[in-house]
């Protein structure tokens, strides 16, 4: 897992990962790259990350990958990332294509639902929590109900 301040250098990271597994005999390499889109007059996005829980979440996915003979890598930005810059790369390597195609989908979806990262729109210099696009982590609300 690799965290960077600001935008990711996507070609460089994709090359580093490809080169690092070149001789590992994986038949399929599928990166997923997330790039900041222009919408709602934002000038970019900004991210907070809570690293201790992100680390343990990612470790659990590394173990799931291992059980399927695959490996998973991930890079994410901290702080501000401007329009048309990229903030997220996940990648799976596996011997077989079906495992890789299914694993990247499962990983990216759980990442969106569970990874402790908070997104803010950058609008006229302000950081506005992207509440409507955010997902409550499974099991949320424990401290909210009546006793």
């Amino acid at each position: 897992m690799y965290l960077y301040d600001g935008a990711l250098d996507v070609p460089k990271i994709l090359k580093q990962w490809y080169d690092s597994e070149r001789d590992s005999n994986y038949g399929a390499y599928i990166p997923f790259v997330g790039t900041v889109r222009s919408e709602d007059n934002i000038s970019g996005l900004s991210f907070d990350i809570y690293e201790p829980i992100l680390e343990s979440w990612f470790k659990s996915w590394q173990e799931k990958a291992k059980l399927r003979g695959a490996i998973i890598k991930m890079a994410h930005s901290r702080g501000d990332v401007m329009l048309h810059e990229s903030s997220y790369i996940a990648a799976v390597f596996s011997p077989k294509r079906r495992v890789a195609l299914e694993f990247i989908d499962e990983f990216v979806e759980d990442f969106k639902a569970s990874a402790p990262i908070w997104k803010y729109d950058l609008i006229e210099g302000e950081r506005v929590y992207a509440k409507d696009r955010s997902t409550a982590i499974k099991g949320s609300g424990l401290l909210g109900g009546q006793s």
Binding site: D48, Y50, Y88, S114, A115, G141, L142, G144, S147
Partner: protein, 73 residues
């Protein structure tokens, strides 16, 4: 003492509380008007592991974190 941290967009400084369990924490936090919505939609971690029940004893030095809705990527 138990340290309580509010992560991401929850604009609140950490608390140091003298409590024994998460039910006590719930009672204390529910008195804070500004936290009402966050309590409904946040997950809870004890020492950086998510918990799924309030039946958890706390001991001196424990850290409790509130994690509001996420959106990485």
């Amino acid at each position: 003492m138990i340290r309580v941290e509010f992560l991401g967009p929850i604009q609140k400084a950490p608390l140091e509380l003298d409590i024994d369990n998460l039910n006590q924490l719930r009672s204390i936090l529910q008195k804070d008007e500004e936290l009402q919505e966050w309590l409904q939609n946040s997950a809870v971690a004890l020492n950086d592991t998510l918990v799924s029940s309030l039946d958890v004893a706390l001991k001196d030095g424990d850290k409790v974190s509130l994690l509001p809705p996420v959106c990485g990527g």
